[in-house]
Symmetry: C2
Amino acid sequence: MIRAMPDDDTTGPGPRRRRGPYAKSAERRREIVEAALHEFSENGFRGATMKAITERIGVTQPLIYSYFSSKEELLTAVLELRDDRGFDISPLDPSRPVESVRALVELMRHNEAHPGIVALHCAIAGEAVTSGHPAHDSFRRRYVDARTRIGAILEACREAGRLREGVDPQRAARIVVAAMDGLQTQWILEPEVEHLGDEFEAFMRTLVDF
Amino acid sequence: MIRAMPDDDTTGPGPRRRRGPYAKSAERRREIVEAALHEFSENGFRGATMKAITERIGVTQPLIYSYFSSKEELLTAVLELRDDRGFDISPLDPSRPVESVRALVELMRHNEAHPGIVALHCAIAGEAVTSGHPAHDSFRRRYVDARTRIGAILEACREAGRLREGVDPQRAARIVVAAMDGLQTQWILEPEVEHLGDEFEAFMRTLVDF
DNA sequence: GTCTATAGCTTGATAGAC
DNA sequence: GTCTATCAAGCTATAGAC
């Protein structure tokens, strides 16, 4: 997300106010985060090294530390980039259940168009199941939130008469969360899974009429 | 799986035959693998250190290297232990589809009784999605095999008239694999998932009449 | 069978010149 | 803003005594 610089006013000619960061600085930062994203995707957080990240963009290690004070802070920036690129279900609204289900399917289609982000998610979420991982709490909250939110949506679908016969909303919510993660993992691991979006939509249609 | 030692005969008193490894040696080995299992469960393979493993059982690092030539070989031994403890679907037989589905549910109940093994599976499978991981190929094959085998079982269920209306066997197989992994992950991360076996059984009953 | 001691390397991170 | 040079700490793994 690009923010306006503090000295963005092009009206005055003289250096009256203290200068903000140059555009080049923001560009470098973006470049570093992008390199880290790829490195984390391919090797996980623990498997990635600062050295490998710098070599991707041809800079030296100390340069990164002038933008991020630690490897962990760099991970935080990478995960924020992921959220900016749409890997987020928090805008889903249970008061519009059918639209929410459609949006969930659209989310998977969006992911299908961004394999790099999916690979990142699988790699970091995978190693974050261990309690000592820097992203552990973040992912645990994410899972709880996803399951709760999807549970509420399915509950609302039932009240709207859109849930298939015999489907339990809370139990189904767990399977939906599992399916979203699991399909993405299988999509990364096996080339046989052709269309993430189609597979997920077909599954959701066994639960909901939307 | 504990195998008989070559000098297991307690009939003769004298050392007539060439001695095999002493019982203590096998016991030490088992102890090391057990310690490694717990360490890998809690920190993953990359996050675990040989030092931490030795400290669990109060021995020194070189001792481990007299049993295993590398950290990676120790991982192999740990994964074999997991298979011995029943984390394996390869005995499932599509020619007996209904029994196979029941066995799959039993497998999850078995896992519920062995949280340590589930934690190990989640941690290692999680970080093994990255292609550079030592267990990557092993887990990739495992996934492909699981999906293929479960697909065949569901196909056989359909022929036996046990598949629910409108369920596509191959697509459902992907979701089943995702559900097995995902439910276990959620069970590790969230205390709210109370019964792994019950959750999985309820899901399978939405697909198959068994 | 187990130890002490340490080699040999890589890691994340810093100091200071330009 | 970027570099060269370097640090202390941590890692896997080995040599050799007992």
